[in-house]
């Protein structure tokens, strides 16, 4: 028994027939082919699947696609400018070497952008607490913290 789900993803209207149990992250990766959103766990702990839904960072593995019906979804693929210029948060990750293997990175960036909207000048402690739901095994977080601090300032302009 398939159901039809429709939503806007990275500015484009999309629609597909899916099984009701299809997770939002599976819909994004498998049905839309947007593989920048990653899956790192099966317990909603790692944050690799973080996307924006209606402007807020959420874990796309923690809901089924149907729950995003009519939502406005942005994934990592939709963050840079159409001409390819990096978003200030992406640029800050590059400048501060906030990524190594890159697997946690899309989720980190999506979470960081949402966080920065409400924290234009965050303290180190605030950034570390904001990363509670995003695991990285490579960077030791040191440079991610630096990147988000700088990225938040850059976003505030």
């Amino acid at each position: 028994m398939a159901v039809r789900v429709s939503m806007t993803v990275n500015g484009k209207a999309v629609s597909a027939e899916v099984e009701p149990r299809t997770l939002l992250v599976t819909f994004i990766r498998e049905h839309l082919g947007l593989t920048g959103t990653h899956v790192g766990c099966d317990t909603a702990q790692c944050g690799a699947c973080t996307i924006h839904m209606n402007g807020k960072a959420i874990k796309a593995c923690s809901m089924v696609a149907m729950q995003a019906q009519d939502a406005n979804v942005v994934t990592i693929e939709g963050v840079a400018k159409p001409d390819g210029t990096l978003h200030p948060m992406q640029a800050a990750f590059k400048e501060h070497h906030g990524l190594q293997c890159g697997f946690c990175t899309p989720g980190m960036v999506m979470n960081a952008i949402d966080f920065a909207k409400s924290h234009p000048n965050p303290s180190e402690q605030e950034v570390r607490e904001a990363l509670e739901g995003n695991l990285c095994r490579c960077t030791g977080y040191h440079n991610i913290v630096k990147a988000i601090t700088a990225g938040a300032k850059a976003m505030a302009g």
């Binding site: 693929e77 190594q100 946690c104 180190e124 030791g140």
Partner: protein, 788 residues
Amino acid sequence: MNAPLIGARIQRKEDYRFLTGSGQYTDDVVLPGQTYAVFVRSPHAHAKIKSIKKDKALKAPGVLAVYTGEDLAAAKVGGLPCGWLITGTDGQPMKEPPHPPLAQGKVRYVGDHVAVVVGESIEAARDGAELVEVDYEALPAVVDATKAMQKGAPALHDIAPDNKCYTWALGDKAAVDAAFAKAAHVTKLEFVNNRLIPNAIEPRAANARYSRADDSYTLYVANQNPHVERLLMTAFVLGLPEHKVRVVAPDVGGGFGSKIYLYAEDVVVTWASRQLARPVKWTAERSESFVSDAHGRDHHTLAELAMDKDGRFLGMRVHTTANLGAYLSTFASCIPTILYATLLAGQYTTPVIYCEVTAVFTNTAPVDAYRGAGRPEATYVVERLVETAAREMKLDPAEIRRRNFIRTFPYQTPVALMYDTGNYEATLDAAMNMGDVAGFARRKEEAARRGKLRGLGYACYIEACGIAPSNIAGALGARAGLFEAGEIRVHPTGSVTVFTGSHAHGQGHETTFAQVVADRLGLPIESVDVVHGDTSKILFGMGTYGSRSIAVGGTAIVKALDKIIAKGKKIAAHLMEAAESDIEYDRGVFKVAGTDKQKAFGEVAFAAYVPHNYPLDKLEPGLNENAFYDPTNFTFPAGSYVCEVEIDPDTGKTTIVKFSAVDDFGKVINPMIVEGQVHGGLTQGIGQALTEGCRYDPETGQLVTGSFTDYCIPRADDVPSYQLDTRETPCTHNPLGVKGCGEAGAIGAPAAVMNAITDALWSMGVKDLAMPATSESVWRAIHMKRAA
């Protein structure tokens, strides 16, 4: 002419694709006609398989096939091989029990592979897997290595009724016993080096395609060494000719050792892809990673250090029981031996050392290399002993180290290694300065006024990297060579593609290696790209582990570059009608010495590909060179870490307030990338010390720590910002002077943290504490002592 690039903080070439979601990891690969595999895994730690019924699963919608160990046996699929033969003290080879990719007759750990279900969709395969009926007869299980050696313990393998794989030793036992007999003081510790679960954030994955058109296979796999994967799989397991198998390890989301090995899943999907003539993909769920990735560490050790009255080390004696898990993983046997006992001299002149290791099978996941692999265990032994000795003898822990530092090089240790160079005093001084050790007493007092306990701990580690001279490794039991290969392809217009047998899964080789090449050729870094991770593109490769890439892979590239420049000189000599011996190459330009005649690198490259004016009678056209490099020694990165902790005695919570790390990696190519490697290593080391500990239920053998909730890899607010610096004694036996940096942090950090915690608790009578020192265990230690 371009500025030197070696030593520059160049931003990474790979970042743009990762930051925009355009990386391609194995699970991102979807092939035409894709099918999906789900493994049926053992729920028992130890059981006989009485029967497996496939019928219901086969009838489920969308299920294409179910395969079991019997099917693989009938198809003559071999077992997973072990790449290192250890010979025991009794002169006998280690016990090598069969390791079938899918269990035959018996399962030996929770998560062991019983069957695979292939479906049209992942959901169909999952539903099918639920319908495979396996009838088990549960057997008693043993998960602790010490218990597994006891009489009457359940035996895992017929060929090892006492569960022992080998007992192996290194060093002169009689000389060590004599040194202990004349010691003024002996420090003794008994501890467990806790079992760790690697947990790269990208779960393992494999996607195999078979093509009938040319009888060939392509395997996409999250792996650190695609050529080794191919060699082991073709020659030992599937009996396929190598030229018919292509292994691609595209972007790989972290490895830390766990993606070195040939795993059952890789073999099974490759084999299944031919049975079905369809591509078969398997991606681990995190809970599968916990039970089936090779784990790390798990040593039980009794260690003793003998000293004279001034704290000079006279001898060291170490007995270790190493838990290998249920089967021998690819390099399991060399980790607690060759990569462990040989490092027990540390940075010190201890004249005699004896180490005996018994390696044991238990009903747990196989154990193999995890970031550091043997060397963190060795450093933990040495540095916990040294620090404890200092406290017992009332010597300053830095001073006791200085009294015993090796100061002349090359230095032959009593445990086989020959250190080429180092300056241990320099890193210790720098780390003590950076950590403001002088101000510690004041900070401790201030903390005490707030009711908090402060402690300061050191770790002065050494590691052997750049594995290894192949002939020495071979004499020690390695069943593979350990060289590296590289290729420089200069294109007609002078841009360059570098092909390397090293593999990057976060290390940033695309940038670092390009820096080396661009620097040596005097080209802009934009003109150089690096390709890795595909057996169809790379001539050969031994891959990345043991912090070997820049030292071995980088050197292979430099050797290929030397050939490029040598050939370029011949071409330039012809073009400028000069003698070859008069041609100099200086950052992008071939010059005739003493004249103003010159040809740019691009002009020479062009002449090589459009050889109209070219010495065709003496020289082949084209500008493309390969090199294989086999190192002449290990490299010996070393460093000093100073960790300062504050403990809240009411909650037992340990906070790392300051962590200062000074490393000597030899020449540093890209300090930004090197620092990132240290940050990551330190965090994994701190994880081992404070939060991570794999636990199996001792009765049932169930994995108790099977999710991120129960097994805590550090989160951002568990770790501090780090203070880092480097000192540089260039490696003497490779042209770049490099040593490697990938594992250092994970090697040095556990001892530094535990030395700091035990320093804080020493006055309360807590001499030692087990890792991980969770809040609960620290609280208990404090309150047990208070109660006593």
